[in-house]
Symmetry: C2
Subunit: 429 residues, 2 copies
């Protein structure tokens, strides 16, 4: 081994940081054989130096300040595992790039909000930012999209990329439990972020989708343009009705370039139960990449956890050790186009559920509203008649979200709606 | 664009070659933006210059001899799409490497047989051989394993990697047809290789598995050590019996490092119908990668065809254009260990089906043979009694193949076997 070691500085020693330490310790010889040079950790930084992490940090230099760590002369790669869109993570990343270090990060929020400026800073300094661990945990989807599918015009990217949401939806279905019951259980198990909205509101998964869309379509990261809808309003009734029709409800991200601009949605959707996305159970993640040459590629794996996320961090480290210099989003940041958000999503069938007051002509009034908005009905199903109301379910033919929203507003004026209608898109996956 | 173009010479203008031409023509601007330099085709070679391929080869220089193409001064990458383990493909690949060209190939047979010597030749000349298109078509599995999972000790690699076999088995199950009926239909549709044994005998898929095993375990390619068993003996009866128990039969490749050495098998297996592998229908491919950090990653996509395979070729071309220099099998060829084949596979439950002559005590004799070999029975099922014989099905507890083979031999001596027993491994996927 004649080559110089690749020297890492790791900021953030939570689950993923500790996982990364463990891999470097455990596989020193294997990593060196594969990279052609040793991988070494020089220095670390975290909030608490003395916490027992189950792994010794004695061999490494310590910095209280991640910015100071990022600027150390004795490291080649700054590994940012602190999290947070701004604050110390961003300051240290900027310091590292300016000091001529490459950056490996698991920080989806930072890149979804500040990705363009950071990518530009990296290029000004001839450095790379790699972020495989930021999207779908251990699944090498950034690599597959940026490199493996580099010969394709990407046509669509989809993903179930928040394990907590998929765990909640799967458990509701399997055990017939309400959203609130499973949410509380998940919270007690420590599955949820400190701010649960990041998970169940779709924000965390939306950050990931925005990064995939940038690579796929060559547009600047545009998280603020994303249609975001969480799973909080999904009921066990919706899940069961969907199942009866051969569907499952997933928090599904979809990004595609349309003639009207870039469509980015992270929202609950009905998908066929027999499709790979429909079959996905528990906290597992799945991404679906579609290209004009390759057709559809499906990637499945653990979306979080010490081992899988550290595996992704180390994949990036190994690329850098091997001398790969991939631009942050697969092409120079200066060449990324401004993203034009699509005003209206590609039409799709919709699932509509509502309760009608129990009076003659109620159903006719609703059907009339739908007809007036140009929405035609594929299937209608009245079920489980209750005391004063009748639950009704419609599956529409293809229509757009604007027509659905307009019809929902008009339904409110009919006086026959007993409970607020639910509308969920049926995605053709 | 100030960088010099990457110049390709393509040998072989069948489906994949034409697909590669089409991508380079169609996406010139996109490829240049992503690679940071133009991708150009300089020269081509094929058996017949005048064949109508639906795409013009007028813009490119022509060579009758692929070796002459490989040596041309005006190309950087030799793209080998001729096929064949030896002969012109190998000669031209060697010529290209010796002349200082990188090589991109879709040729699994050539690498499974001659991979070690070619990888050594590449390194002597400071060149790379990339072969994403050789394994599982458009799925970027070589990249995922070599690069994305480079931080893992790989524990197991599995795959359904021959689309024709999976098509035959799926269609048998879905339509209740015999192997011969579906084989003939597949042959008429042009799905089979000129020598169908390459497909249905498991050889083609075995070549692919041997390449994955080399990357995964750092051992020299050892295709000749692989346990190979085709799908020719699978009956619709086996498929239906397996389905009744919640299994599907797949031509499944499994490679794993055991304390006794490297286990490599490509053979029909029972897998749970609800597993990702069990759910795989038709000609689609699936690879499963397992690592000590990442857990299980599943990759699914088209395993063949113009677009998917050309997508993989172009992924490799783009890597080379971006300056990535991955060693052929993920580490220097000189560092690959000699492979020690495992003498006995890791124990597994087995599915055993046979017909017994209709006489008292027949079943007891078979059960005795199994017991004498130390094989314990998990389930036994006698079904569909026929004129002079009784079909019987056993599911054993975990045992090894040697015990199964010994018991099958002894059953022949009992005089109660009416038709040759079938033994299929049940894989824990």
């Amino acid at each position: 081994m004649t080559q110089a070691p690749l020297r890492l500085g790791i900021a953030g020693l939570g689950t993923v940081g500790v996982g990364t330490l463990r891999i470097v310790n455990r596989h020193a010889e294997l990593l060196a054989a594969r990279a052609g040079r040793p991988i070494e950790i020089t220095a670390v930084s975290a909030r608490n130096r003395d916490k027992d992490r189950g792994v010794s940090i004695q061999p490494f230099a310590w910095e209280d300040d991640p910015v100071a760590l990022a600027r150390r002369d004795d490291l080649d790669v700054f590994v940012e595992l602190m999290g947070g869109a701004d604050g110390p993570a961003k300051a240290a990343t900027e310091a590292a790039l300016s000091a001529g270090k490459d950056v490996v990060t698991a920080n989806k929020a930072m890149l979804a909000i500040n990705g363009q400026s950071l990518a530009e800073l990296a290029e000004e300094n001839g450095r790379v930012i790699r972020f495989e661990a930021a999207v779908a945990g251990g699944i090498p989807v950034i690599k597959a999209l940026t490199e493996g599918l580099a010969g394709n015009q990407v046509t669509r990217v989809m993903g179930v990329m928040n394990g907590t949401c998929n765990y909640i939806l799967t458990r509701m279905e399997n055990e017939g439990l309400s959203y609130d019951e499973v949410f509380d259980a998940a919270n007690q198990l420590g599955f949820l972020e400190a701010d649960p909205t990041l998970d169940v509101g779709g924000i965390d998964a939306g950050h990931k989708l925005a990064l995939l869309a940038t690579i796929a379509f060559g547009t600047k990261v545009a998280f603020s343009d994303m249609v975001l809808e969480g799973i909080e309003r999904i009921t066990i009734e919706d899940i069961e009705q969907a199942a009866d029709m051969g569907f499952r409800i997933k928090l599904l991200g979809v990004a595609q370039m349309t003639p009207r601009g870039l469509e980015q949605r992270m929202q609950p959707c009905l998908v066929p139960a027999a499709s790979p996305l429909g079959q996905l159970e528990g906290a597992t993640n799945m991404t679906v990449l579609e290209g004009d040459a390759v057709g559809q590629i499906v990637l499945r794996g653990a979306g979080a956890g010490e081992g899988p996320t550290a595996s992704a961090v180390m994949g990036d480290v190994m690329d850098i050790a091997r001398g790969f210099r991939t631009p942050t989003f697969g092409r120079p940041a200066s060449g990324l186009a401004d993203s034009v958000p699509a005003q209206t999503a590609i039409p799709a069938p919709y699932y509509l559920r509502m309760s009608l007051v129990d009076e003659p002509g109620a159903l006719a009034k609703i059907a009339t509203v739908l007809g007036e908005q140009g929405i035609s009905i594929d299937r209608m199903h009245q079920y489980g008649h209750r005391q004063d109301s009748a639950p009704v379910l419609f599956v529409t033919h293809k229509t757009d979200r604007a027509s659905i929203d307009a019809s929902l507003a008009k339904m409110g004026d009919t006086g026959v709606i007993a409970s607020a209608p639910v509308a969920i898109r049926i995605e053709d996956v």
